[in-house]
Subunit: 114 residues, 2 copies
């Protein structure tokens, strides 16, 4: 996964465990694409301070994922539901009954894993 | 949801964020169904100490859920996949095409919400 996309996922799942100051700066960097210099001048802190804070947030968020694995769990489930979705579309075109069996199997697998 | 089932879900999701001591005692209480007195004598602490620790763990776990809502998100997705699973079974019996539309709709909804 591209690094910023991965950071965005981690933030989406665990961001509420950061404090407000960390969240504001992290969002500016990841979602609003501000540079370290821009954030530094907005916040009245040094460029190095912003850099360190973002590094610390990355470490905290990655630490939550390495303990809880919830981003992985949800992404796996999402990928499987997307597979079901495309099999349904295919079935509507082809009426191939084997696709229905596959949908049943995948839905079963998701339920077991969730 | 029954209280112990809810606590088990919360623990399953966020338990790794508790420390080892908390996890051991919480597991004895929730999963191994030991009484406060039994845990107290195993751990060499007071019954009140065990009681307070479990109360504190419940509060910590509930706090994570109130910030992250991941148990709710997961249970919603699971319920919807179970619905897909039963619609597939129904379709195999009835060959009713409307069920396929419903499966498509629900899978779409899950993807949007995950």
């Amino acid at each position: 996964m591209e690094e910023k996309v991965e950071q965005a996922y981690l933030y989406d799942f665990y961001g509420e465990l950061l404090n407000e100051h960390q969240r504001r700066i992290y969002e500016d960097f990841i979602f609003h694409d501000l540079s370290l210099g821009e954030i530094a001048s907005c916040e009245g802190i040094s460029r190095q301070g912003v850099h360190d804070l973002i590094k610390r947030c990355n470490k905290l968020l990655a630490g939550y994922e390495s303990k809880l694995h919830l981003v992985k769990k949800f992404l796996d489930a999402k990928r499987n539901v997307e597979k079901i979705h495309s099999l349904v579309k295919e079935f509507k075109k082809s009426q191939n009954e084997a696709l229905i069996e596959e949908i049943e199997q995948i839905s079963n697998q998701i339920i077991e894993e969730l």
